[in-house]
């Protein structure tokens, strides 16, 4: 790989790492908004998402211009597409955090999550936040070992989601609307986690050239 292309790629990865950290902040704030009925946290989460979207659009625009100067070969193009896809994953993470923040805002000042589910969502929020941090670390360090860690964290999210559904399907005195909200919130955390996994897999691809699920 040419040096200049390599440098541009490293710069893009570094920006993406920062933006994955922004997504981590956005989901942390959204979880606070959700569980503590904190309207300021909801607003902050939505602002984080806006900042993220603006910087991603700039990053993508620069990526085309830089690469076009390099007479790219097929493997360069795969790398470009992988970088743009990483951006799309981070963008979706920001959107999913926003869905959680907006759900919290819609019910404010009521708390949305029935008391017995608070620990499940608290844990989901913590693991999802950590996964975004780990995805950022993967981008920054190009260490392919993060992928295995993210897979393990993803299993935790899946287990928490099963626990959530077990509660909904069991003795549920909180009404149908709360069940629908809880199911959707669980889905948002699950998808957030999926995108963090996809980032770590894409880093494996970028480092090894092996087909990851980018």
């Amino acid at each position: 790989m040419r040096d200049e292309f390599r440098r541009a790629l490293a710069a893009a990865e570094s920006t993406l790492a920062e933006l994955a950290e922004t997504a981590a902040a956005a989901i942390e704030q959204a979880t606070v908004a959700l569980l503590d009925a904190d309207a300021t946290a909801a607003k902050r989460s939505l602002e984080s998402n806006q900042a993220l979207r603006t910087r991603l659009a700039e990053l993508e625009s620069n990526a085309y211009d830089l690469l076009a100067l390099q007479a790219p070969v097929a493997s360069d193009l795969r790398v470009l597409v992988t970088v743009v896809r990483l951006g799309a994953d981070i963008e979706r993470m920001g959107s999913l955090a926003s869905h959680i923040a907006e759900t919290a805002e819609r019910r404010h000042p009521d708390t949305l999550v029935p008391e017995p589910l608070v620990p499940v969502f608290r844990q989901m929020g913590e693991v999802a936040h950590q996964m975004a941090i780990d995805a950022a670390a993967a981008l920054r360090s190009r260490d392919t070992g993060h992928a295995a860690r993210l897979d393990a964290e993803d299993d935790v999210v899946d287990r928490l989601r099963l626990e959530l559904f077990g509660q909904i399907a069991g003795d549920w005195p909180h009404g149908a609307e709360a069940a629908a909200d809880a199911a959707l919130l669980g889905r948002y955390y699950e998808r957030f986690a999926d995108h963090a996994v996809a980032i770590a897999d894409a880093v494996v691809y970028l480092v090894t050239g092996a087909a990851g699920e980018a």
Copy 2:
């Protein structure tokens, strides 16, 4: 734009149009599986999705090799990324149809959707199916007029989803688990519709060079 690049692009769009039609079939079959507790339809929907994924991987692989021969400029690279993103939209449509088919399979031979919601889901399924057909037509004809039509159809899906949530939040005697299932199913149809809209917007971008929400 060079002739060969233009031809390769047209071929990719034609394949993507076929695959959008496969996604249309997958959601039609999934809706039958869901509303008629039809296990064969569920199986067919999952097979459609598998076929779709295999062909998308081939298409993407070819796209890099073809474009690399063209000494691409920045605008070519945007087009490549747009084509790959179109593929990703269609892939998500297939996955969402599979989620619906799998939900139907999980409850088989019971019907999952409470009787009063059947018309809402029937309509959602019809509109989502039509949106995939219209997205395919947009890819095939490069007619930017499809984007407005898909926006209108997307509004119908949003309205149906509101109706669904109104029923869940109202007098709901079907239990919390059915409410959670219905909320998630509504979400799958909504996201399917979003991706169809994104395809039509990307076609506008490919034709006019204007920034669409690709």
